[in-house]
Symmetry: C2
Subunit: 468 residues, 2 copies
């Protein structure tokens, strides 16, 4: 066997203990919140048939799917041997003969597939959450990985706007529990965007308009004006746009003023989507009031929020952390047709997801990880000789029986080495059972952070460690 | 887009909510136990370089690796275009040109790779656990999947037999916590098997001997005798073997008698491994006594336990559930050379793992899942009209703030439909806020399992649900 210097594939990561513990802290809060709101967990396989995945993410997405080679002699499968003609015709001709499976690209398509396959067993409305990794053969770059987790929650089978209100509550709860109190939950509605397009007189294309609006954050009003002019929007249309985008006030006021502005700007009463958009947002707002939601200062009805329009049909959401320079950490919206591609039309729903990598970076930048979110072992029992080792064993057992993570250094070594071990593993307490301590039936508990030492009975050691 | 009837790849599984919750119950107990014993979590990527995976699992294992196609135009990679000559030469010639990555096959090789890559940051002894899925392109069959979880815990960088004793403690704790009290933890030592081979006079080959012994459970003494005779073992050797295998008694007695039997049977004092094997087992036994281990009746020094001998060099373990007809649910052992293939010799360690699919089946067969291990939502608030909906919202919020998973049926529907929803989702309580209840500031809490209804104030509802 040749000796290699091992490495991992570009865009993938090892998560060492300290990072896993912190990531699990975030996952735990998200999971707990989803469950408190009645969402049940679903897990789908990593491997999906390419027939399920292909064509669902656009041509670019198809390129970014990781495809898995058929097992065995993949060139000579029954009825699908690869020929020199296939080879000459290129990868696209060879691919279907050598690969039938791919890696999960997101959690939405597998969810849709699951709903279709199990539609007769599922009780609708179906509230599911799913926290699993996905894979994309993207060019790796800073902050973009080829393997990363998504945390999705969706409700399908109901049009109730209660779901939208609860998405705001869940976003708020997760962020506040994580300590990310300086956040903005942006909400908008696909219909409102459509009405704005009508108000502009139907110039240019909707896609051009929303693509430009989406850049407002980055290129500012002037940049957007320039881009729209280049794309054929008249100066009048652009003025109308910024009049509408400039409507200010709190949530309720903004709704009212925008309604008036629609009428002025000529959004016709038959623009059902547009007026429904305002009504929907109004209802979501009322639901939140009835819920006694107390974070309205963090909720922003943002008419400029666009988000991948091809997919969403109702309310749309996006969350930013105000005091960190970072893209959105959460987003979602309502869609009309989740399962149409699998032959089951009319399944509408609403969902959202959290980006755990970004949340992690925010917590780290703001130093918001609780100090115990890096710890696994709470107490290390020192081992300096055979007698201290023997004395440690029953105590070790009792600590664990009290629910305390504890370990005995497995060899009688120099204390310095054991201190280093505790230090590097982030173990907050060291328990010393020297002959003097044993003589009085006690142990010396050392707080590794302060260096403070206390002579304690076992019950006191347990109490101190549990109190941590 | 053509309409398809979707499916999942052979040998993979969707885990619906009820199953995920039960699997998480098992994972939670395993994880908690690992952590109480000072093991820290590690996660490695799903995708590994084929250079890391290939050659580590034997030729059969290489066949069973899932290989991932290079992205982009995989036939025409720079310096690695596939030619007609490659095609003619077959899959083995084409493979290295079109696939560089594969799916994780187990957790041991990625762990070894991690240790080598991070050896300068890791503090040894390094205690890590890892709970992640692995993939094998095996022929799918009942109970054998292409994607399944492994739950591994290993300590590397110490020879202390404390680790072996703690493996017994962890196996015992996980099984007892799960309620699988009728189990046998078998322990043996590679050196003991080697000594037995010497005692037989060095006839035949070691592999033949252990392969035959391993079948004792299945084919009985007569079968094994026959097989050994066919493989060239003399009648005397076979008699010696059964004399040794027949040594009875408790753990300590068996050790003593086996030592005597070794001497009688001519195991020479220079058979260091053999005598060290007995000493190691003796020390593990003492450690357990010092730990006040109280499950010795479940621990069996089983001289016939062999387990894949190529890998292990010291103690070996295996766990069976006595009252279920099923293979082992856990196993492991000590190894000398974890990272040699990656150029880092001398890293020894000891590890073990649990098979979560088998544990799941045992718990199901013995009806040992706790009743609340299937539940996500604890309380459904009924929604019969706009007023009950409005009244429900602040109560819903307060239930969740009290840590209770609760949901409001999202639409005003017939009560029957809402009962069905609760029933099928396994929700144990329904809270009714009709006009009569609201008039007295109370709610009617219905226990869905018994049909019993109580008129309660909100604080009483909370107390009842938390008490569940």
């Amino acid at each position: 066997m040749s000796i290699q210097k091992p490495s991992i594939p570009q865009g993938t990561r090892d998560f060492g203990p300290a990072v896993v513990v912190r990531r699990n802290y975030i996952f735990g809060i998200i999971r707990r919140t989803f469950e408190k709101f009645g969402f049940a967990p679903l897990e789908t396989p990593t491997l999906e048939n390419l027939s399920v995945l292909t064509g669902k993410y656009g041509e670019e997405g198809d390129q970014l799917l990781f495809k898995v080679l058929n097992s065995g002699d993949f060139l000579n499968k029954k009825n699908a041997a690869v020929t020199t003609e296939d080879l000459a015709a290129g990868s696209k001709s060879v691919l279907p003969k050598i690969a039938e499976k791919g890696l999960r690209y997101d959690l939405t398509v597998p969810f849709a597939r699951y709903v279709v396959m199990h539609r007769n067993e599922i009780t609708f409305p179906f509230k599911r959450y799913q926290i699993q990794p996905v894979w994309r053969a993207d060019r790796p770059q800073r902050g973009r990985y080829r393997e990363f987790y998504q945390c999705d929650a969706d409700v399908v089978g109901t049009n109730s706007l209660l779901c939208e209100a609860e998405i705001v509550l869940m976003m708020s709860e997760v962020l506040n529990t994580l300590g990310l109190t300086e956040h903005t939950i942006k909400i908008n509605h696909r219909g409102v965007l459509g009405a704005i397009y009508q108000a502009l007189g139907g110039e240019g294309t909707e896609v051009d308009l929303f693509t430009a609006i989406d850049k407002l954050d980055k290129i500012g009003r002037e940049g957007v004006e320039k881009e729209l002019a280049e794309r054929g929007f008249s100066a009048m249309a652009i003025d109308t746009l910024f009049a509408l985008l400039g409507v200010g006030g709190g949530f309720a006021e903004k709704l009212e003023r925008l309604l008036a502005a629609f009428v002025t700007a000529g959004v016709t009463p038959d623009n059902e989507d547009g007026y429904r958009g305002l009504q929907d947002l109004q209802r979501v707002y009322e639901f939140l009031q009835e819920f006694r939601f107390d974070n309205f200062q963090n909720l922003d009805f943002d008419v400029t929020l666009a988000r991948g329009l091809s997919y969403y049909t109702g309310c749309i959401f996006e969350v930013k952390i105000n005091n960190v320079n970072m893209g959105s950490v959460s987003g979602g919206g309502r869609y009309d047709n989740l399962t149409g591609a699998f032959g089951l039309p009319g399944v509408s729903g609403v969902g959202f997801s959290f980006g755990v990598d970004r949340l992690y970076d925010c917590l780290e930048e703001l130093a918001l990880f609780p100090h115990n979110a890096a710890v696994t072992t709470q107490c290390l029992l020192a081992n300096f000789d055979a007698e201290s080792e023997r004395a440690a064993l029953p105590i070790l057992r009792q600590l664990r029986q009290s629910g305390i993570s504890a370990e005995l250094y497995p060899e009688s070594s120099k204390l310095k080495k054991q201190f280093q071990y505790a230090d590097q593993k982030g173990i907050p307490y060291l328990l010393l059972l020297g002959s003097e301590e044993r003589a009085v039936g006690k142990g010396k508990l050392r707080d590794m952070r302060t260096g403070e030492e206390q002579l304690l009975e076992l019950s006191q050691v347990v109490a101190t460690l549990i109190g941590e």
